[in-house]
Symmetry: D2
Subunit: 152 residues, 4 copies
């Protein structure tokens, strides 16, 4: 796995735009998720494991795992667009590879193929133990469409 | 669309098993979702639209839409298995067809192809207005694997 | 399964447009596939089982199964568009549900959600025995994008 | 992109097993595809661009692109299993990222997560020009299931 400690940051304007949009997502706040990295074409979201996000065996629910993966991919795409653009998820596919265990999950969305209309992202979610051990728990692929942002 | 008003119920034992498992899912409770129908090979889950489940434009977040779709498919499969079985999501793919608007969403998971090891489900999510108007807002396909339930 | 014997035909102009495009697909000819039905938003393609389309166990290869499914979905979308439109596959997902056995396969592409830019189709492939018995062998979901047809 | 010139080969026994199975696939021969690399957990398949594999605009058909991608993933998984194992595709999802143009295509199947029952692969297809220029034209994800090989 590549070294993630030295990562390029997006410009302050882009980071502000992504953070502001993220803060308007009621679901991310309700789940307890937060933006952990905003780079050009790559966004990380962290979700602490809590009883509020579990499935019936106490692991993080596939729905919560997918929610942060989908969101990370969407914002990864958004970092590449102009200020007046929005990004909507067209579809995604995700494999749940292992029980989503750990102290917290980290979703990584990475733009694989940017485009004027459609953008394709790779989605990865890692389960991270308290000692820092990382394990890939989900892997997916997502298609997004760019739209003009409605005036506010 | 087929008539959903006359629907077969699963046996009381199956319904209890599904409901008990659902009640152990911290995420479903946290999102405010509830089981609305448990039939043989088909399960419906309802999610009221609330600020806690939205994305940045106020529609229900794709992650919440997916979470109830994935859960509905999983329990649809579970209705067909013996008491000592568990069902895990292997993967799913979902298209977000329209903004998830409405008073509440209804996810419908339907077994398309049951199997001893793998089961494939169709996932549909409808946005339902206060006046009862239904609109398909997401459509997907899911692969599940049966496992023996760990002794409790 | 719904009755497929009484099916609506697309207009002669649309059928000609789809047939002409199909005839330009070298792969379809090479595989031995043919258009079996062109209706508004629904297209059927038949592929006879021959040694040229098999995998290592003698069943029809998932690649051939997918090729006719993808093509059926693409033309199902095309039936709904103006003459100057083309349709390109953005992505698809397909589950191989059972060995693709039979005298021939029939792929059915059905538009699930048409759109000005993106269209989503359901893909089904049936294995059909000499006695007419039909079995669902593959099921999928496809996203397509409309483009203006290049002048010829 | 990583250097692909220095690649680990699978053992002679594994390579023979994969090649023998590939040679029994009528479709691969009919399309003109060939195995280009058999490494542990990674297989490459090359498909020359010919009129027999095109869609209506002269690019390689998504069905042919998918067929070699699916096959590369299946054999990538097979390299990791015992001699008495077979591998079947459960499902895959593929994004067609760019017109599949070039002198030939190269599909690369890579095991992302091996498992006793299920294996998940990454699928990539490159269009390669006569001068060696490579472009990613398709990207996908595949789930496979291991089965015991029937006695011959």
């Amino acid at each position: 796995m590549e070294d993630r400690t030295q990562q390029e940051q997006a410009s302050p304007a882009v980071r502000k735009r992504v953070q502001d949009s993220f803060d308007r997502q009621g679901l991310m706040t309700h789940l307890g998720a937060r933006l952990a990295h905003i780079g050009p074409g790559r966004v990380h979201i962290v979700l602490p494991a809590r009883p509020e996000v579990t499935q019936q065996h106490g692991y993080v629910h596939a729905g919560a795992t997918s929610a942060i993966a989908d969101t990370a991919g969407g914002y990864a795409a958004l970092t590449l667009f102009e200020e007046d653009s929005e990004v909507l998820t067209v579809e995604y596919k995700i494999n749940l590879l292992a029980p989503a265990a750990g102290d917290h999950l980290e979703a990584v969305g990475t733009v694989l193929k940017p485009g004027r209309t459609l953008t394709v992202c790779r989605l990865e979610v890692y389960g991270i133990q308290g000692d820092g051990e990382r394990k890939l728990v989900a892997n997916g692929q997502q298609t997004l469409i760019r739209a003009n942002r409605p005036a506010e």
